[in-house]
């Protein structure tokens, strides 16, 4: 075969190579998504019953107090989670960049990224022990004379959401830290030098030069963090299963319980469609806001 033949565009060959991937994508991603969309218009238990109900599932959702409670919980989660997950790694990355010794920077970077290797479930279970009635947090409070503040952190509706959000404290490590680090390293050294020559101190440098230059990273991390909150499921299910008294129930968990505990697959699908729409709208909004700022 000649070189010119190799370079020639061969649509059928390309299609042939793409076909397996597209087929897998279609069967395992698109088809389930479409069937879930269709299921939202049925009353179905996933076993035998399947009855067309039109938009009834969506109407029921609109008047379901548990759904609205889960939305309120979600907003509470978002208000607490997004700032700490956005700002914590930013501060961590700033501290790393400020280290003068490259060797120290290397070790601290490794140390801060290392927790990513620990499976999430292990972290959750460790924190569950920390929050126990006789766990280290309560023992510490007792030891410092604040024993009256000791409580079942995950068993109290007032503290359960902050307690779940606090998992991962001090939020400085992980993948988000790497994104910020990349952002810091991409700031031209000449810009920093110019600012310093103009008399900018460390705080001014950070607020007026580095922070504006990291706007894209901050936007991406805020969006990822928000989407993470929307899909938050595993840690809540392991720690509280939405309790106590639904104080930590989120729409994603409610979707799971509706579908697999209550046997209402149609209703769960409607909830999934609403969640998808909310995710899509939020993504567009955040991107739009980012563009406007730019």
């Amino acid at each position: 075969m000649s070189r010119s033949n190799n370079n020639e565009y061969q649509p059928w060959r390309a299609a042939g190579f793409l076909l397996p991937a597209v087929a897998f994508f279609g069967v395992f991603v698109v088809l389930p998504a479409l069937s879930a969309l269709a299921l939202a218009f049925f009353r179905a238990d996933g076993l035998a019953m399947r009855e067309w109900v039109g938009a009834d599932n969506f109407r029921e959702l609109a008047s379901d107090p548990l759904f609205w409670k889960s939305i309120r919980n979600l907003l509470w989660f978002a208000v607490l989670t997004v700032p700490v997950q956005t700002l914590g790694p930013l501060l961590g990355a700033k501290l790393l960049c400020s280290l003068r010794s490259p060797r120290a920077a290397y070790w601290y970077r490794t140390l801060l990224v290392f927790p990513v290797l620990v499976p999430g479930v292990v972290t959750i279970l460790v924190w569950q022990e920390l929050y126990g009635a006789t766990g280290p947090i309560n023992l510490l409070l007792d030891a410092v004379g604040l024993g009256e503040h000791a409580r079942a952190w995950l068993g109290d509706p007032a503290t359960v959401v902050p307690a779940i959000v606090a998992i991962g404290l001090p939020f400085t490590g992980g993948v988000f830290l790497l994104i910020y680090l990349a952002g810091f390293l991409s700031i031209p050294a000449s810009l920093i030098e110019a600012a310093r020559l103009d008399g900018a101190g460390p705080l001014r440098l950070f607020l007026s030069v580095e922070l504006p230059m990291l706007r894209t990273q901050i936007g991406v991390i805020a969006l990822l963090s928000l989407l993470g909150v929307l899909q938050n499921f595993d840690n809540i299910q392991i720690l509280t299963n939405g309790g106590p008294m639904n104080a930590s129930l989120t729409p994603a968990l409610y979707l799971f319980r509706s579908g697999f505990e209550f046997g209402q697959l149609g209703y769960a699908s409607a909830l999934g469609v609403v969640l998808l729409a909310v995710c899509a709208v939020l993504t567009v909004l955040v991107r739009w806001a980012g563009r406007r700022q730019a």
Binding site: L47, A133, D156, P244, F262, G263
Partner: protein
């Protein structure tokens, strides 16, 4: 009887030779007869059938098709019966008796375990793909009800009403009479249908730390007041009195409430059980009077409408809530965050003096303490069990008929997948359950396990270690109302309300009002779903205005 699904499958394929086959009368030569023998028709029978058709070409085409069909069917039919259990501990005993079943029926049995933690999802996927095992040993009644209502399980009412052919000593006795009556009652769904066959029951009691009891000079209580007094004495000594969890995956508090509610609702039994034989009387001291009695959905709708089982109007619900709320003050404070699995560990570590649980913890608790002994022998303590105490006139002003029904919990039960396409296999699956629950077989089977759960069959004795949890007194048992709700949704709502009540967020009045709304909605949903199966004449007579959501 013809099988409609089989008809549908082979009908179009065999249309070429169907008429000719029906006209023949040479041995097994007509299609219905062949079908009747499916999947046992042998090659000779098939060839006879084929040779009876008119045209040679048609004959071979038809024969080929049937051979293909039967080859597949026979290969499938030759597969052993599949028995799956979520209680692995019970399997050695079942394996020991499976050989006898094979010898008696010719059916091989393949026995396997499914991890308890994953069983619900596993069963769901099997059912969704219509590949459910022939027989499954599962826990509690929710799962059988769910799949039974979806038409995927064998309904046991009829087999249970007939004798068990494997119970040679009791050939004239209905099979259901070999079980404890209350377990058969618990196996009934909201409409009175039975989707599972009892196999084991849990014996529930308060496990307690004997060392602390000796130190504080306490004795196992016999009354509710005694129990509360003991708990308060323990709490005053700076210890946690009772460790428990209040989550959908841990029913300890619900068991207590169920026992209380069953006792307190008993006076309404005759008013609720309207669809019964003439002259039936409820005698609380005669357990046999509840035998064969069914509380149907229609009766529940009427009883709810009349306020007999409506939590907002029936005082028994409010009283149960009040008593449990009093008890909740003695719980270890983290009961809303603890997981069920942690409860016995907390007790074994000596961090609480009591926990309420069942026979299945006799062995793990001993094992846990052995583990602790290896590290810190001084932390191991002697423990014992006392039954749930009786209510006295001091405890409640509500009328009581008889006493607390101890050990009334159905635990492991058999379900069988419905197999319309293979009646023979279906019969064999039912036979397997009959065989495993026949007293002689079950005794052998239980004898080879280390399980301390009590057998559900009357004639099978419990293990010696489980004796403290065996009921001493039994009263007539009818499940008039379900405290936790009537479907999955209302059960979910129940747990929120239950946590709110025991956590002190709402009082008894708020609890019963909200529980009433949840129960009413659930009963309404069920009445809509089962409208076609309900006794309309009964409802028209007793519920002329219908049941409002």
């Amino acid at each position: 009887m013809r099988d409609r699904k089989t008809d549908a499958k082979i009908g179009p394929r065999l249309s070429l030779g169907f008429r000719a086959a029906q006209t023949s009368n040479d041995g097994l030569t007509d299609l219905p007869q062949l079908r009747e023998n499916f999947p046992y028709a042998d090659l000779g029978q098939i060839m006879t059938f084929c040779s009876s058709t008119a045209s040679k070409r048609r004959r071979w085409r038809l024969g080929g098709l049937i051979l293909l069909w039967l080859a597949g069917a026979q290969a499938w039919a030759a597969e052993p019966l599949r028995l799956v259990s979520i209680h692995e501990d019970l399997l050695p005993g079942m394996r020991a008796v499976a050989r006898e079943f094979t010898e008696r029926t010719g059916w091989e049995v393949e026995i396997q375990a499914v991890p308890y933690s994953a069983h619900e999802l596993w069963i769901r996927t099997q059912m969704l793909s219509r590949k459910g095992p022939d027989v499954m040993l599962v826990e509690s009644t929710d799962l059988p009800w769910r799949y039974g209502h979806s038409g995927l399980l064998v309904q046991w009412d009829e087999p249970l009403a007939n004798s068990n052919p494997f119970d040679e000593a009791n050939r004239d006795r209905p099979w259901r009479d070999s079980f404890y009556d209350e377990l058969v009652q618990q196996a009934r769904d909201v409409a009175g249908a039975i989707w599972c066959v009892p196999y084991t029951q849990y014996g529930v009691g308060f496990f307690y730390n004997e060392e602390v009891y000796d130190e504080l000079g306490l004795a196992p209580p016999e009354t509710w007041e005694g129990l509360i007094a003991n708990f308060r004495a323990v709490r005053a000594s700076g210890r946690a009195a009772l460790v428990t969890a209040v989550k959908p995956n841990d029913h300890q508090t619900l068991w207590m409430a169920d026992m209380l509610l069953e006792l307190l609702l008993r006076p309404a039994a005759e008013q609720v059980n309207l669809l019964t034989r003439p002259g039936w009387r409820f005698d609380p001291l005669d357990p046999a009077c509840a035998r064969g009695e069914v509380i149907t959905l229609e009766e529940r709708l009427v009883a709810f409408d009349r306020g007999l089982i409506d939590p907002a109007r029936a005082p028994a619900f409010r009283e149960t809530a009040r008593l449990m709320r009093t008890l909740a003050q003695e719980f270890r404070p983290d009961f809303l965050s603890l997981d069920g699995e942690e409860v016995p560990r907390v007790f074994a570590r000596g961090q609480a003096v009591h926990f309420l649980n069942g026979t299945w913890y006799l062995r793990p608790l001993t094992a846990m303490q052995r583990g602790i002994e290896a590290i810190a022998p001084e932390r191991v303590f002697p423990w014992a069990v006392f039954p749930f105490p009786e209510l006295s006139a001091e405890t409640t002003s509500l009328p009581r008929l008889g006493g607390i029904n101890q050990n009334s919990g159905l635990r492991a039960c058999f379900i069988a997948s419905k197999q319309d396409s293979s009646p023979e296999r279906q019969r064999a699956a039912i036979d397997l359950v009959r065989f495993l629950t026949a007293p002689r077989v079950a005794e052998t089977s239980f004898g080879r396990t280390a399980v301390h759960d009590l057998p559900a069959m009357r004639e099978v004795p419990p293990k010696p270690g489980a004796e403290p949890l065996v009921p001493k007194v039994r009263y007539a048992f009818l499940v008039l109302a379900q405290f936790r709700g009537y479907d999955a949704r209302s059960e979910g709502e129940f747990w929120t309300l239950w946590q709110s009540l025991l956590g002190g967020m709402i009082d008894e009045d708020q609890f019963v009002q909200r529980l009433s709304a949840s129960h009413r909605a659930a009963l309404f949903r069920l009445s809509q779903e089962k409208a076609s199966q309900m006794d309309r004449a009964f409802l028209a007579r007793h519920l002329p205005k219908g049941f409002a959501p």
